[in-house]
Amino acid sequence: MPNIYKTVAYALTVGAAVIALTAPAAAQWKPTKPVEFVVPAGTGGGADQMARTIQGIVEKHKLMSESLVVVNKSGAAGAEGFLAVKGANRDPHKIIITLSNLFTTPLATNVPFNWKDLTPLAMLALDEFILWVNAETPYKTAQEYLAAVKAAPATSPMKMAGTGSKQEDQIITAQIEQALGVKFTYVPFRGGGDVAVQLVGKHVDSTVNNPIEAVAQWRAGSLRPLCVFDSKRLPYNDKIAGTMSWGDIPTCREQGLAIEYLMLRGLFMAPGVTQEQVAYYVGVMQKVRETQEWKDLMANGAFNQTFMTGDAYRKWVADAETMHRAVMDKAGFLAK
């Protein structure tokens, strides 16, 4: 008999222990302290704006029990931020927003990190790229401009301005060069706003600015969009500049330039975090996406609103990395 009691007692203890273990997992995981939202870029840029908008939305609509604190770690083209999150093993109180430097920085500089070191959380949106020229130039279509690029003498090629070196803007430039066998002089600047103004001032011939970086100058009639580097036209039909809407800009493919490039605006977490923790932030971001503020931001910047999580997201990132490696290898941008 005592044995039976013992067994029952044992079974009860084990049962209680099992319940005790599963109970917190069943209840949703929640952050227990303020969450650090790392931006691997400077203040005022596209990623920073998005992060701060999310922070504002979360605060305004009370979407999280703890506050979200934006921290800029922009050193070495964002490597500082990625290394900080990579080093925070199993810390669920850090999330990072990425731009294309997730791929380009380690490939161009050999700084030791890769997206596989981090835990993919969700793709928030994709940023579009548009080929712009000064509105006072005679080029009305991408075909006309690219013909002029081809015709330019080798001693003074057309000048393409872009943000940073061996990053997204220069990669698109390299793709155009590779596709058409032409040559640009690529001039790197610090930010998208600088780039747009250099084009307005006619110090360069073209740019591949994001919509949000050049929209003001387009509306003022000083810049002209030629084509968008996406598979289909942008789904925004409100009139922006005169009679033109984002949707009226042809794709580069239509113009005989079969190049697509979209920049990831996605979130990652530290390595080793649990599924519950990932699920919590995915839930928060889904709520963010439903707010009017978020929709306004998307429309303002003519973003591609693809949202992905889990395996689909992981696969997208892996494909994007392969693409970047191939283009950068061909252009000679890879670190030796």
Binding site: R52, A108, D194, G201, A216, Q217, A335
Partner: protein
């Protein structure tokens, strides 16, 4: 006189009670942010930005821009009192502000700093009010060669400023250039001189260097000199303000020069920091021979010049942000992000489409600066009185504030060690009579200048004549050359005369 009408409309927007309250809150927060080294205006605005999303855009920008004015004012306080620039643009203020404080004239120095800040801002706001469209067009003329020539002009207007031999100035400047080169090279996208360490990826932030070189270095020196900090005689009366005001009109020429330099640097966008150095350099160059020696030893003109220029530049930096969407300073960059989040598009059409917003902001620049001046002037006696605290008590507090400031820049502990290292460098430099200013200047402007130079070379296919290719860039480059070789030229002229 459309502008006048629009401005008065702006005043009715800005003078709503809620906006006035936000203005005062902004100024007070800004002064606090400015006083703490490391926590700059850009950080302060960025931290508070999300709080403003539920406000109307006009109220939000009024509060945030007032934080910016507050930070511009506040940066001078620690520069004068402890030789620690609270903000990058107040480095040049330490050159004469701190010696004044040591002589027991902290109240005078602070009053001069605040008043000239106000004058600079006022001139810049007047320019924004009446010349905005014209000035915006001018800024478009600036490409890489023009930016480089402006940087060159800043360096050249600075040469000969130091008291030591030119050789020592060059050594200090070269060291600054070398430090500025560490980290990512923006033109090639390659890492330079990081020796494979993660800590050096960020490069050397100028703020950390400044906190160490000036703040910690000064404390080490004072310790050696026997812990006496001659601030006890600081008076605590409001009379100081009035007395200093009586003296200030004498420096009208310096003020005008600094206003011009400041507005120019703010628009182009060189920023407030180079403007303050350039203002100081020019004031010294144009000073009468007998006054030249007193620069760096507590000459009040050496406080007026950089502060006027910095504040004029800081204010006019908002103009390219509003009209072109390019930020003239880091803080303006953050405000620019805010504009977009609030659903406004900065750019040429902002003045047409968002009249309330633009003119409300411009009106708040007038009101905010007046409010700011009143706030900081009433605090002058209190701040000056801090110097009456014995050094043995105040020194540890300063070191703690410096450490916190250095940490805040990148949230990195390594930077605190770096700051201590720079402190020792600052001490050694002072002991060996090497000037610190050229090093700091090279560290601030070095990488930008290098980038602009290489961008120019890319554009011109490696042809140096690009720096003479149009009247604008040609005249700036020419002016820099004249300033650079002026000591030589004046020497030759003198020889010719004696012959």
């Amino acid at each position: 006189m459309d502008e006048i009408q629009a401005l008065f409309h702006g005043f009715t927007v800005a003078a709503q009670p809620l906006n006035l309250v936000l203005m005062m809150v902004g100024i007070l927060l800004g002064v606090l942010i400015g006083v703490l080294p490391g926590l700059g205006g850009a950080n302060g605005v960025a931290i508070l930005l999300p709080l403003t999303f539920s406000m109307s855009p006009t109220s939000a920008i009024i509060m945030l821009s007032c934080i910016y004015w507050g930070a511009l004012f506040g940066g001078a306080i620690t520069s004068v009192l402890f030789n620690i620039p609270g903000e990058p643009w107040s480095v040049a203020t330490t050159f004469d502000g701190f010696p004044m404080a040591k002589q027991g004239k902290a109240g005078e120095a602070l009053t001069a700093a605040f008043t000239s800040s106000f004058v600079g801002a006022l001139v810049a706001v007047l320019m924004i009010t009446f010349l905005a469209p014209l000035v915006a067009k001018f800024a478009l003329k600036f490409g890489p060669p023009e930016y480089f020539s402006v940087a060159l002009l800043t360096f050249c207007s600075f040469i000969g400023m130091a008291k030591g031999t030119p050789f020592k100035t060059v050594v200090a400047m070269m060291l600054g250039f070398a430090l500025a080169g560490i980290g990512l090279d923006n033109v090639t996208g390659q890492l330079r001189m990081t020796f494979g360490t993660e800590q050096l990826l960020r490069g050397f932030d100028f703020l950390i260097a400044v906190i160490g070189l000036f703040g910690i270095g000064e404390i080490l020196l004072t310790m050696e000199e026997g812990l006496n900090f001659k601030g006890e005689s600081a008076r605590m009366k409001m009379r100081v303000v009035i007395d200093t005001w009586k003296e200030l009109p004498r420096y009208w020429a310096t003020s005008i020069r600094s206003c011009l330099v400041g507005c120019w640097m703010g628009i182009t966008p060189g920023g407030a920091t180079p403007a303050s150095f350039m203002g100081y350099g020019l004031a010294k160059r144009f000073a009468k021979d007998k006054d030249k020696d007193s620069f760096g030893r507590g000459n009040i003109e050496g406080v007026v010049a950089p502060e006027t220029a910095a504040h004029a530049a800081g204010t006019s930096a908002l103009l390219p942000m509003l009209t072109l969407g390019i930020p003239g300073s880091p803080t303006a960059a953050v405000l620019l992000g805010g504009l977009i989040i609030w659903g406004l598009q900065p750019g040429p059409l902002l003045f047409v489409e968002q009249k309330d917003f633009v003119w409300g902001l411009i009106a708040s620049m007038y009101l905010g600066n007046i409010a700011g001046l009143l706030v900081v002037l009433t605090t002058v006696p209190f701040f000056a009185a801090i110097l009456r605290i014995p050094f043995s008590i105040i020194a540890p507090i300063i070191i703690v504030i410096c450490a916190v400031g250095a940490y805040t820049v990148h949230n990195a502990m390594f930077d605190v060690y770096l700051m201590l290292g720079f402190g020792v460098v600052g001490y050694v430099f002072k002991k060996l009579d090497y000037p610190l200013a050229p090093l700091v200047l090279a560290l601030v402007l070095g990488d930008r200048a290098e980038e602009n130079f290489r961008q120019s070379m890319l554009i011109s296919q490696g042809n140096l004549s690009v720096f003479w290719s149009n009247p604008l860039v040609g005249s700036i480059t020419g002016l820099s050359m004249i300033l650079l070789f002026w000591p030589l030229i004046s020497l030759i002229l003198q020889k010719l005369k004696t012959k």
